[in-house]
Amino acid sequence: MTTAAANTSRRRTPLSAYGAPGVWLFASALVIALVMIVLLLGAIGVRGLQTFWPGPVERIELATGEVLMGVPVRTAAYDPSADESDRFADISASGDAIEGAFASDGRPLRRLYRVGNRDLGQEPFRWIPLPEVRAIDRPAAGTLLERTGWGVFVGRPEALLVDGERTVEGADATLSALGDALDEARDRRAQIERLRDHSLGAIDRKLTKLRLEVRRAELAAERAERPDPLSGGARWGLWIGLMAFAVGAFWFARRLAAGGSGAGSRRWMGLGLACLGAVAAVGVATEHPWANAGPSAEELASIRAAADERRLTLEADYTRVLAQIDAIRGDDARYRLVIEDVSGVMAPESAERPDEPMRVSQVVRIVTPNDAGVGELMGVYLSRWWEFLTDEPRASNTEGGIFPVIFGTVTLTLLLAVAVAPLGVIGAIYLREYARQGVVTSLVRIAVNNLAGVPSIVYGVFGLGFFCYTLGRYVDEGPAEPMATLPWWFTLGGAALMVWTAIGLAIAARPRPGAEASSGQSAARWVMGLAWLGAVALLATAASTTPYFEGFFRAQSAEGSPTFGTRGILWASLTLALLTLPVVIVATEEAISAVPRSMREGSYGCGASRWQTIRRIVLPGAGPGILTGMILAMARGAGEVAPLMLVGAVKLAPELPVSSEPPFVHGERSFMHLGFHIYDLGFQSPDAQAAEGLVWSTTLVLVALVFVLNLSAFVLRGRLRARLRTSAV
């Protein structure tokens, strides 16, 4: 045997056995991927950060004799047209061109200038071919003025006016005096905004409420005229009977499951009775929809009269506040600023009134970058960022801030988390802990994983069709085609019968410990499942066709402005919850199954029930994994755009989805969203050049938000893990 071993000729190791050439290949693939990511993030970071840096204001003289002023944005080589290149060749030959007018390859350069002054009938951005430029200088008083409307103004401040008198003259004096004037003007503007938003807004809301009250009373009166074969008392009796039945069934099942331990079931019984009492109390308190009574004709008339009276008072208030606003406006109109462009044309109050100099209160920020130090420029830069993050958008989103956008995104994400967390976690617990593992659970898992692959726009279409137009309309107006009362009560009774059948079968087919189920028992179990399904279907039918529910916002719908029956943040967050559900389910399932078997056995060995084991051992152990899944789902939801375009994101939302008026979170309101905002700025903006910088900055904010979410997931998971896994040995 030893000789045989010695005689075995070994082959040389073939080249293909070595991984060395492969290593370079694999590494380069990774490097390419990394470089692409770094380039993407770098581009977003650099472009996003430089948007708000104040560039110099340059004065340009052209060969044609034209003079203009603007802020350089960027410079690029280009291919000129034939006659342009002839002209440039002459210029280059004569030596009139400024330095650096041509690229190294001989092509002419052109520079994009932000020249502003749109109200003077000028394109706010302009490409200037550099060979045509005779001279460029940076005048000391060159000023970039950010205004509330019409975009920026580039020019030179001349004077301040009070009541038409020039109180200050000259560029430097005007600039230094403008600071105080600007503060006062801001105060006045804030006052006006407060009056408009709070006082006028409140009166407006009261008026709307009044109108709706009358409308509601009218609708109730209409409804009361329709007859119901069941008297109010009979309906009450039926309802209470059904509730009692439900509580009784629950108690019975519970008692059965607990194996007859008395104390626990008494507590459940108490809970059930409390629920019953609560429902009854709510029914009595609201008298709706169980009492079919509506106001009589006289009552309706008195309601109308009272409403009219109150409307008059409110309208008087409205006029009074308007007068206040007008007074402040009049005061505001006394202070004006004269600022002229290169050709000496003054910035007007509005394009329609070219003779009136602009008001001081129209100024948002005044930048004189040419003689400013780095510190001053930095101040402007930071204040622009601050405005961007905390202010509302102006000029159809091309100026101002994105605060409502960030706010909408964060609210949406939080609502999404609130919706998806219980759904996903409970679903995963059932799937992993309670359901018998087999073909059905495998199918469910495959289906869940497939859900993750469905294009998100499909969710958008579903959300619009189901949440907004079906569920929302139901909330608003009640069922579209209500059933007649008697068949409806039969449906409900059928559901009750199904529940009892299922419970009875559950008793009959109760598994005996340690024994295999007989064929009769498995058949009974199947029938039981069908009975539960039937009960759920009948209950769903009953709920969706109840003749006793007329919707919560019927009056608004009757006016043609649906409340929940349209796009809004609640439906958007539910749609996204559906979209991110697979992420949460998969993460939770993985986390649950990672809890060691020994922990569960230890808990069962102590006499814990399955639920106690889940609640005290499994869920805390799976916490980090569940949390990570949740945050990943939130990050995914925060970055989603396509479904949101369908179910609620808008270009400009008039109100934030959270406010100080009850119910504080307004699920029916539309909202703004970072992803949609980027799309809107990039492709729907009236002034693409002005919006470009904002696209980058908004993208930077979105990326930062998602990054922060992911980072917090990472940190949280690390911390929880450290707490759970400090095992010795």
């Binding site: 593992q437 410990p513 808990s603 060995g605 102590c606 106690q612």
Partner: protein, 296 residues
């Protein structure tokens, strides 16, 4: 190669022939029969807590226990020994019905705890497990504080009074000889304890609710020799108050801690009697060979 195989076969045949004369019971078991176990009369003289009566168990299609008949004496330590896969852990876990957690488990025959049926209809498994304490092979403290670990069985039983919890926690930790080591860090994570301390913590958890029987499933197999010694001392101490049923791989351990020993093989009980008799004067030659380490 062929020569070697031949030799092995011959040896094997020789062994079988030799053991055919010496190991009567084991050979019957190997043939798939279930012979009556050799039970010493001393066992019958003591009052029993757990009464296993013709108990069989199947994991799906494969049978793990064959009509086991065994009475666990009250207030004593009873050890179950036997080679791997002989069903000793399965028997232990049948007492508190932990095998119910495995899919497709089926049982036959009877088991009684203090006269009450364990597998009868209408038995509340939760309640049953509360009457038994169990310690596992690998220390499995829960990821919570030492205090919460010990009072876990009380918590799930709905005990909320702080005073009671603290008192019973202290008593259990003293009973598990752990109190002096952990009394100053009861609120710290139990996962920070050493392996031996963790196992004693698990014992404290098992005795905090005053179980009728303490089930120990190879409690020292994951511990180092010194920790093992401490746990063995602890078992001896605990046995003055509780009935203990211990499964062990370690023959010396069985000899040291138990008063009765059962020897199992392939799901059948082979010999059962006082520990001294089993180790020094067994009735069956196969038991003698096994405890001497010459078999199994």
């Amino acid at each position: 190669m062929t020569a070697m195989t031949n030799t092995a076969t011959t040896n094997g045949d020789h062994n079988v022939e030799a053991s055919a004369q010496r190991y009567r019971l084991i050979n019957e078991i190997r043939r798939g029969e279930t012979p009556e176990a050799e039970v010493h009369p001393e066992v019958a003289e003591v009052e029993s807590v757990v009464d296993v009566d013709g108990f069989s168990l199947w994991y799906g299609q494969s049978q793990a226990l064959y009509s086991v008949r065994m009475r666990v004496p009250r207030g004593r330590v009873t050890a179950i020994i036997g080679p791997s896969g002989c069903g000793k852990s399965t028997l232990l876990r049948s007492v508190n019905r932990l095998n119910d957690l495995v899919d497709g488990v089926r049982v036959d025959g009877a088991m009684r705890l203090n006269g009450a049926s364990v597998y009868g209809p209408g038995v509340d498994v939760i309640d049953l497990r509360k009457r038994l304490g169990m310690v596992f092979q690998k220390p499995n403290p829960f990821p919570m504080s030492i205090f919460e670990n010990v009072v876990y069985p009380l918590r799930i039983d709905g005990e909320r009074r702080r005073k009671v919890l603290e008192e019973r926690c202290r008593r259990a930790l003293e009973g598990a000889a752990l109190w002096d080591e952990v009394k100053d860090r009861l609120q710290e994570s139990a996962l920070g304890l050493s392996g031996g301390q963790q196992q004693r913590l698990c014992i404290a958890r098992a005795i905090v609710a005053d179980p009728e029987v303490l089930l120990l499933d190879e409690p020292c197999s994951a511990l180092d020799p010194i920790a093992t010694l401490r746990v063995e001392e602890l078992i001896a101490e605990i046995s003055q108050r509780y009935t203990v049923l211990i499964v062990t791989h370690n023959m010396q351990q069985a000899a040291r801690v138990s008063q009765f020993t059962a020897f199992m093989y392939l799901g059948r009980l082979v010999e059962y009697g006082p520990t001294a008799a089993i180790f020094q004067n067994p009735r069956l030659s196969e038991t003698e060979e096994y405890v001497m380490g010459r078999f199994g």
